[in-house]
Amino acid sequence: METVIVLNDVRKVYRVGNEKVVALDSVNLNILKGEICCFVGTSGSGKSTLLHLMAGLEKPTRGSIIIKNMEIHKLSERKLAKFRQDYVGFVFQSYNLMPTLTAVENVCLPLIFKGIPKIIRNRRAKKMLKAVGLETHIKHKPTQMSGGQQQRVGIARAFVGNPEIVFADEPTGNLDTKTSKEVMDLITSIAKKNNQTLVVVTHDIEIARYADRIFYIKDGRIERIEVVEKSN
């Protein structure tokens, strides 16, 4: 199987005042294409930092991050934007929808950035909204939707460009248990269907059960890796 993400001896040190805080240390890992991975840890364990590094939002202090054979820790801001545009989808904890835009306009955003013509992107966005079960809320603004619905819009937005990798940062952090389950079902089923790599960061072990592999992060290190046996 093709390896999509490779981390070699990644270390990340933050400087807080005069003190150095080691957020990540000696992280090595490979993630395969189409794999669903979860990073689980308490707050401050460094799991979010890891996600940010993989998404190119932060640079490691040391080590290398190779995604799709690109050394993304060496890419310029401009190339990182292009990289995200071409390969990466994002799902956030607080949805991060544009408050002034409707659901379909929000879903369209990544396609607008790619320069896809309006007719095509609208069609794709509507199709995507339908896939997340929101065909009735196409024209709704985020404030007119529940948290679960907003997160569905967020998921639609992450997947609309058909990216190879989708990063989800605590996607269920603001949702109740039932909705969380629905959202996770949705997100994993889409990723599986399209053979997309999904990287989820969560503190909730129940959510982590959706993954193929679970990485337990503690104090900036990978404590252990668990391969989840699927019952079916």
Binding site: H52, A55, L57, E58, E77, R78, A81, K82, R84, Q85, D86, V88, F90, F92, Q93, S94, N96, M98, T100, L109, P110, I112, F113, K114, G115, P117, K118, R157, G161, D169, E170, G173
Partner: protein
């Protein structure tokens, strides 16, 4: 991102904060209007100067004379400079005519002659010119035609010359210019003779004075054209083909056995004219041609000199006016920048999300530059519209705080505020450029916003 999407997004963002956008645009409107109004008043001033000066004669006209005051660098000491005299003859004029930009050249040969028609007489200045240059030198006709080079005893009368005819036998009346409302004779049709004999046709009082010289035969002349009334010396002269006038003078000089009172045909036989006119095709060439003529050793003067002095005198006023406008515009630019920076603060998160979703940095920059450019563009367009309105009202309201006085009764009323097309276009272009420049710093800031900071969970 394609440009349609960026434009749509920029408009949407501006529309989202209507009040602030409108207020910022209003600032630009005021800025544009003040700079345009101030400049337009300056331009109106210049225009009215030009109008006034051109009423005195054509601005394209250079008057040449044989005297030339060489420029001597005497270290600022003011002293009398001996003029140099050069021969200004047909040959010299031909050389002048060769100068690039010169349209026409004519010498002016002045002679004071007497006209007689029936019992009416008139004294007047007859000017010999190259007959075929009348059109070029702006001799505007009210009746008849211009002189042609075939003409001999044909004359073109200035408008006031007509009123010079009076009846010398009607005593007790002083004659002065403009006294008569109606011409005593019909110059175009009545028989007129012209003579060098100043006593011709009049009864000499008391039989004294000079004996009549019978050899000074009167010359029959025909008035072929009448000039429009202007405000120049043309009104008070009669024009004639110079070749014919020379012939007459020569004949008269021979009969008199004495040199004429003008330098033409003086004893040393140099045919130097006292004055000549040079018409320059383009106004902007006048100074250059004038200089060239100076370098040939002749004096050259034009109304452009006067105009330039007038313009120089008001330059400071115009600069102050422009500076006032510029200050207002500068404040508007600060307003744009302030609005954009505020907008970036508010949209930090939004910009961060855009970045994470793969929006290119150059698109973010374009978006912010476009927003500020739109404020500048809309503001300057509205400002120009506003200026046109104010300008129209000012011109209509007949505000006379800038009444320059003389020659106002003639011709078109001078406008107080003039907005030429170039100013309109420049203001709109300037507004947009200032908008973009004011947006440059905020846009750079927007680009620097860290995606990570922006999306961090609260």
């Amino acid at each position: 991102m394609n440009s349609i999407d960026i434009t749509a997004m920029a408009f949407k963002n501006l529309w989202r904060r209507k009040v602030r956008t409108v207020l910022t645009i209003l600032g630009v409107v005021v800025g544009t209007a003040s700079i345009v109004m101030m400049l337009s008043i300056g331009i109106g001033m210049n225009e009215s100067f030009k109008q006034q000066v051109s009423m005195m004669g054509s601005l394209n006209l250079i008057t040449v004379n044989p005297y030339y005051y060489p420029e001597i660098d005497d270290g600022g000491k003011v002293g009398y400079v001996e003029p140099q005299r050069n021969t200004l003859d047909d040959k010299a004029l031909e050389k002048i005519a060769q100068i690039d930009g010169v349209e026409a050249v004519t010498p002016l040969l002045y002679y004071y002659l007497k006209f007689v028609s029936g019992k009416y007489v008139a004294y007047g200045q007859v000017v010999g010119i190259y007959a075929d240059t009348m059109e070029a030198f702006d001799f505007k006709l009210s009746q008849g035609r211009h002189l042609t080079s075939e003409d001999t005893n044909a004359l073109v009368f200035g408008s006031s010359m007509v009123y010079n005819f009076y009846d010398p036998s009607s005593r007790g009346r002083y004659w002065y210019y403009g006294m008569q409302e109606e011409a005593a004779i019909d110059v175009m049709n009545d028989k007129i003779v012209m003579t060098f004999d100043m006593s011709y046709g009049e009864k000499r009082p008391g039989g004294g004075g000079q004996p009549r010289d019978i050899r000074k035969r009167p010359i029959e002349v025909k008035v072929v054209g009448l000039l429009e009334q202007g405000q120049s010396e043309k009104d008070y002269s009669a024009y004639i083909n110079i070749d014919y006038l020379k012939k007459l003078i020569k004949a008269n000089t021979q009969t008199n056995k004495m040199p004429g009172r003008i330098s033409y045909g003086t004893s040393n036989n140099t045919e130097s004219y006292e004055q000549a006119w040079v018409k320059v095709t383009k106004l902007e060439d006048v100074e250059r041609v004038q200089k060239a003529i100076n370098q040939m050793g002749y004096g050259a003067y034009s109304l452009t000199d006067i105009l330039r002095q007038m313009l120089d005198a008001t330059k400071t006023i115009r600069m102050v006016l422009g500076a006032i406008g510029a200050v207002a515009f500068f404040i508007a630019a600060i307003g744009i920048m302030n609005t954009m920076i505020m907008s970036i603060y508010e949209r930090t998160k939004e910009i961060g999300i855009m970045k994470v979703l793969g929006c290119m940095l150059k698109d973010i920059r374009k978006l912010f530059l476009l927003e500020s450019a739109l404020i500048g563009l809309l503001g300057s367009i509205l400002g120009i519209g506003f200026s046109y309105g104010v300008s129209y009202l000012m011109n209509r309201a007949d505000i006379s705080f800038l009444d320059y006085g003389w020659y106002y009764s003639y011709g078109e009323k001078a406008q107080i505020s003039v907005i030429p097309l170039w100013l309109t276009l420049a203001a709109i272009g300037f507004g947009s450029v200032v908008g973009i420049l004011s947006g440059a710093y905020p846009a750079a800031r927007a680009m620097r916003i860290s995606a990570l900071e922006a999306i961090r969970n609260e």
